[in-house]
């Protein structure tokens, strides 16, 4: 049968058996002290006591094994099986029925440390019972710390067994279940936290579960070999304190309180008890057991404070649940503390904290799951919003890009127009204008006229050359110019030579400057054609570094001229003007052996 179902059935049975239980419950007993191995005789100084009884508090002075005596009536022995049941016999003892040994519950000794959390029940063999009055003796070892005995049930098996079983489930099986569940949850949550360290709440919750799982093992592991006992206690206090600290910090964070100093103080306090016990040994045990645990109760107060704050601030169902759990937890802790210290009214009542702790962990778990689900939802929502925003931005960007491209295009067109206008103005326009003036003055014969028109054609070709799309830069334009002029030089019987030095694959120069450079070259070459009476002309094109310059040198072996005479004309002033416009230097040297024109054009730093 599943434990939970059994618990329900058991509690039902408890209710129906309540009346019968009254008859089986024995609260009246007699007590005597005796060193003997057998129970004290009838005439011994028995004294009446009420169960449960704490012999240590009742009569602190008395020493020696303590004997409790309970008498009970049996009308028809042998008809049904009987059972004796003690809800708590924390440190063991020996039971006798009618002077015969019934059971020996192991007691702490030099080899083994024992603390029974489970109830004890033993069937009484039918032949041990006699009609009328029977006697149960329980011997308690005086070395026991608490010297406590709970009340005793004696009765027919069918009446007493359900009481025993429900008690066993509550105090032992449930502890096993809680321990297993909390340790499993702890493993899972801590693994989650290790992947996401920033989520401190998962870490605290995982640690709280881990500590509580270990703490609850205390209810399951009831006997420990003595050398290990002290470490078992160290672990137990570390777990109990750790749970208190972790769950308190968790709820402080839940309430929105982030006290750094308090965290450290809590951690320090948490370590103090187990450390004292680990270093000081068992001599420190009573001190730690009493005062360290009492200190932990104060954390319950902190938690209640946090819970009230959370309720006030959040006004949520979960904060109310938290407050209820915190109150329950503190009550349970105080109860368990008093119980463990032997200070409580009902020494046989069950320990409560582990129900309260389960509730605290449950509420915390619900809160974490809720937050996890919410954050997943938030992430999904955020993804949707983000996608929308990205799409929106994309649209804006492409619209902006379109606009920019439009503007860029307009700017380019405007720039080109400006350049063509300027070019018409400086080049063809002024050329035609001066020619027109000369024709009107009658200063031009047909040969001169032809020359003027040819020059105008040449100039236009240069414009077209630099304006055409897809040009590969200055070098190609220079090549085209050379290609066009070659037939004329051939016709004039002048050898036209080009020499290139240190030139890159392509050379990009701003279109306006390229046009000016081409014009300077064309002007120089047509000068050679018209005036120089040369046999050879060499055009040398080179790049110079530091600073980067494009150098164009035109040298002929003609008759030369005097550059100092302005009237010699030859377009020199025009060439100078062009050089100046593009920030280039123009050198002209001429003597009887020929003329040399050098244009030195500074390249942009990146060229």
């Amino acid at each position: 049968m599943p434990p939970v179902a059994r618990a329900l059935l058991v509690s039902l049975a408890v209710a129906t058996a309540a009346a019968a239980a009254e008859q089986t419950l024995h609260r009246d007993a007699d007590f005597a002290v005796s060193q003997e191995a057998a129970a004290p005789p009838q005439e011994a100084p028995w004294r009446h006591v009420i169960l449960p009884n704490q012999w240590k508090a009742d009569r602190p002075g008395e020493s020696g094994p303590g004997w409790y005596r309970v008498t009970f009536q049996v009308s028809q022995p042998g008809r049904e099986p009987w059972m004796v049941y003690l809800p708590r016999l924390r440190e063991g003892g020996v039971l006798y029925v009618n002077g015969h040994l019934l059971a020996r519950v192991p007691e702490p000794d030099a080899k083994t440390w024992v603390r029974w959390m489970r109830p004890h029940a033993f069937p009484i063999p039918p032949d041990e019972l006699r009609p009328g009055e029977n006697t149960l003796h329980v011997r308690i070892n005086p070395a026991n710390r608490d010297r406590i005995i709970s009340s005793i049930h004696i009765g027919p098996d069918e009446t007493v067994r359900p009481l025993y079983e429900s008690r066993f489930f509550l105090t032992y099986t449930l502890a096993q279940i809680i321990s297993a569940v909390t340790l499993s949850v702890a493993l899972f949550v801590i693994a989650l936290w290790l992947r996401r360290r920033m989520e401190l709440d998962y870490g605290l919750f995982g640690l709280a579960c881990l500590f509580w799982g270990v703490h609850t093992l205390n209810y399951v592991i009831e006997a420990v070999p003595d050398p290990w006992w002290i470490y078992w206690r160290v672990l137990r206090y570390a777990a109990t304190g750790g749970f208190a600290v972790a769950i308190t910090l968790f709820y402080l964070r839940f309430a929105g309180i982030r006290p750094r100093g308090m965290t450290r103080a809590f951690a320090a306090y948490w370590l103090s008890g187990p450390l004292a016990l680990a270093i000081g040994g068992s001599a420190w045990h009573p001190l730690v057991d009493r005062y360290y645990q009492a200190g932990l109760l104060l954390m319950g107060l902190v938690m209640i404070g946090a819970a009230i704050y959370a309720v006030w601030r959040q006004r949520s169902l979960i904060s109310l649940a938290f407050l209820a759990c915190a109150l329950f937890g503190l009550a349970g802790s105080v109860h368990d503390y008093l119980l463990s210290q032997g200070l409580v009214v009902n020494p046989e009542g069950p320990y409560l904290l582990y129900f309260a702790a389960a509730a605290l962990l449950g509420v915390a778990g619900v809160q974490l799951v809720d937050r996890f689900a919410r954050s997943l939802g938030a992430v999904e929502q955020m993804n949707v919003t983000l996608a929308q925003q990205v799409a929106e931005k994309e649209r804006e960007l492409s619209a902006n890009y379109e606009k920019l491209r439009g503007l860029e295009h307009e700017r380019t067109v405007a720039g080109e127009r400006q350049r063509i206008m300027q070019d018409m103005h400086d080049g063809l326009g002024s050329q035609l204008l001066t020619s027109l003036a000369a024709v009107e003055r009658g200063a031009l014969d047909s040969k001169g006229m032809a020359q003027v028109l040819r020059d105008a054609m040449d100039d236009m070709r240069l414009s077209i050359d630099t304006l055409s799309p897809g040009r590969e830069g200055l070098l190609e334009a220079l090549g085209n110019l050379r290609y066009r002029l070659e037939p004329r030089f051939r016709a004039a019987g002048i050898e036209l030579k080009f020499s290139y030095r240190d030139l890159p694959e392509r050379l990009d120069v701003h279109a306006e400057d390229a046009l000016q450079i081409l014009r300077v070259l064309q002007e120089s070459l047509t000068n050679v054609l018209k005036h120089a009476r040369a046999g050879e002309v060499v055009v040398e094109i080179s790049l110079q570094r530091d600073p980067a310059r494009f150098v164009l040198a035109v040298a002929d072996d003609g008759g030369g001229f005097d550059p100092a005479i302005p009237a010699s004309g030859r377009g020199l002033s025009g060439m100078r003007r062009r050089a100046q416009q593009m920030g280039a230097a123009l050198q002209v040297a001429s003597d009887a052996r020929g003329t040399r024109v050098i244009l030195s054009y500074p390249l942009p730093a990146t060229a």
Binding site: R454, M457, M460, R461, I464, D465, S468, R471, E472, L475, E476, L478, G479, N480, R482, Y483, R484, E486, P487, R488, R490, A491, F498, Y500, L503, E505
Partner: protein, 214 residues
């Protein structure tokens, strides 16, 4: 003496006169016709294709390229020389695709026409840097059509175009490649022929696609 027959097609009377004089001046040339319309030129070509066709592209009744295409089809060894005002690239490329192997700026010195025709008949062809660059781009462009996947240019031809595009003269290109200037111009002519065949191939391919040819 073997004479070279020349047909001149030019709608500007002044230029027509100049070109006719330039041809008749040469004893080894024979002017087989001088007309100013496409239709007249077509009629002459239908009778007999001359050795050399000197043609202006912009004729009043049509495009000179059609005449070149027709003439070269009828007689593949016919040399077509295109007359151009500015030597602007696209018109020249169009003419080469139609089958032209040479082009001449209209304001060239008088002797140039005869020199150019002789070069053509000797197996050479002129080329300017811009045309060289255009040809390189055109014939090396990534194939857009399946029929034109393989570049028709040899490595040597591409190298010649690259050097010309950089502004080198035929002599200089020959010097760089250790071949004669004459070999260089022969290569250029071969490239022109290739482009024309290549473009005819494309035309056939497109016509087939359109269902015009079976």
């Amino acid at each position: 003496m073997v004479t070279i027959s020349v047909l001149i097609v030019e709608d500007e009377p002044e230029f027509l006169r100049i070109y006719c004089e330039a041809i008749t001046r040469e004893p080894d040339f024979r002017l087989s016709g001088a007309v100013s319309t496409l239709s007249a030129a077509m009629a002459l070509v239908e009778q007999a294709v001359p050795d050399v066709l000197v043609v202006d592209l912009g004729l009043p009744d049509g495009n000179g390229a059609d005449l070149i295409r027709r003439a070269v089809k009828r007689r593949p060894d016919c040399d077509a020389l295109v007359l151009t005002v500015f030597g602007d690239d696209q018109h020249v490329i169009d003419a080469i695709e139609a089958g032209a192997t040479g082009y001449l700026l209209k304001d060239s010195p008088v002797g140039e026409l005869a020199r150019c025709i002789r070069e053509l008949r000797a197996g050479g062809a002129p080329i300017s840097p811009s045309i060289a660059r255009r040809l390189l781009a055109r014939m090396r462009a990534p194939a857009e059509k399946p029929a034109a996947q393989v570049s028709p240019l040899t490595e040597r031809e591409a190298e010649i175009l690259r050097l010309v595009a950089k502004g080198l003269s035929f002599t200089e290109v020959g010097g760089a490649l250790e071949i004669s200037a004459h070999t260089v111009v022969a290569h250029v002519k071969k490239i022109y022929r290739k482009l024309s065949v290549h473009s005819r191939g494309e035309a056939v391919f497109e016509a087939t696609q359109l269902g015009l040819l079976k």
